[in-house]
Amino acid sequence: MQELINKAKELLANGTVVRVLGWRAGDLSYNPEPAFFETEEDLQKFVYDGFCGANLSKYMIEASKLDGKTLVFLKPCDTYSFNQLIKEHRVDREKAYIVGVGCRGKLDIDKIKEQGIKGIESVEGTELDGPDTLTIKTLYGDKTCSYASAMLGRCHVCKGKEHMIADEIIGESKDTKDAERFDAVKAVEAMSPEERFNFFQKELRKCIRCNACRNVCPACSCRKCVFDSNKFDSAQKANVDSFEEKMFHVIRAFHVAGRCTDCGECSRVCPQGIQLHLFNRKFIKDINEYYGEFQAGADIEARGPLTNYTFDDVEPSIVKERG
């Protein structure tokens, strides 16, 4: 972490950048927030640990409009999002100095709480080069849990430790993948239509339509979202079960299909713990199967699968044939 702070200080001092986009330490041990730093003094509160899961790419849309360069710290998975945003002309590469930061998987406080750990006073061992076990001090006594058991779901299907774009890289990344990316989707596919319907009804009934999934999503970077505009007569902020359960998340997933990098932020931020990645990953799986392997954000030049075609593409009836 100190290395990151030193780099930030150096780049601020030599005028390469005028601000730094990183994470600021929170008031609890697990709630750092995305933040901009403009001075050496500000950087005293800079933090980079296991709870810095937030993908900072999207903040670069606003930062690109500001004068001068911004130093941004991106984890390997964040760089896919950044690339995709470059491709869509939403961020300015010239306005960013990218430091790729190492990652050994990011932590989810809810994963710790799910283990019955309450009244958390502090979590220790979260730093990049920390131990495999977390020590948690609570109002109800000290607890421990393994780092891996507290990781965000997305880290278990990590896309890899390579940064897709960076000016320099600081810190080692670790392979955290210990599950197959599409297993969860396959499990749903294996259900009967009736079961699938009930499963998603139950899952989506939880939605409170807070738009956190949309607003955190780097692909959902529209200046005016269709759900906020009158262009489709789709402006609804009501939490009316039928719409959320059946339409909102399908439309959202479709709008980011072929552009979603599977960064997993939607699932991370959902206050109701809806497994939103099941939608995005389904599209990614279909795209891979029907149109060839495609990873959004891996290659800026590659044509997006839904803005592309071949004469011999599968027909929509494949859905039926596949059963």
Binding site: P193, F200, M247, I251, I318
Partner: protein
């Protein structure tokens, strides 16, 4: 226009037809007097690529029991490539609807040329029969749009 318990179920079907091939195919079906059920209502669009998945979801939300999209045969698009994009979009959408548990017989894409009046009619007959066999669309409809 409500459906009583004892009445025979008649589905609501929305058919999006591209102006150049399928709408003309429907016209040919008409001038050739090739009947298909009145449950099918056609919306004319310039090209199958004009059909936004949001339109299809909207139809289901508003109580449609089946939605079919007809366009020119691949390679014959009046705008050269429109139906290629439509094909990918619909494949994705239909797959997603299937995934969330909506009966996949409620959605269909069919390529119908201006000369295929008979195919248009046959397609609609077949689709209506399929949707009728599935019954009312209860999984996607908005409660507020109930009859």
């Amino acid at each position: 226009m409500s459906i009583g318990a004892n009445e025979e179920f008649r589905p609501k079907i929305v058919a999006f037809c591209c102006n150049w091939c399928s709408y003309a195919g429907a016209d040919l079906a008409g001038s050739s007097r090739l009947a298909y059920p009145a449950d099918v209502k056609i919306i004319r669009v310039p090209c199958s690529c004009r059909v936004n998945p949001m339109f299809i979801l909207r139809a289901f939300e508003r109580g449609a029991d089946g939605v079919i999209l007809c366009g020119c045969h691949p390679g014959d698009c009046h705008y050269s490539t429109g139906n290629f994009y439509a094909r990918r979009r619909m494949t994705m959408l239909f797959s997603m609807l299937d995934y969330i548990g909506v009966e996949n017989g409620r959605t269909r894409v069919e390529w119908v040329s201006a000369a295929e009046g008979a195919k248009f009619s046959a397609t609609m007959n077949d689709f209506v029969a399929k949707v009728t066999s599935l019954g009312k669309n209860v999984r996607l409809g908005d409660l507020r749009c109930k009859n």
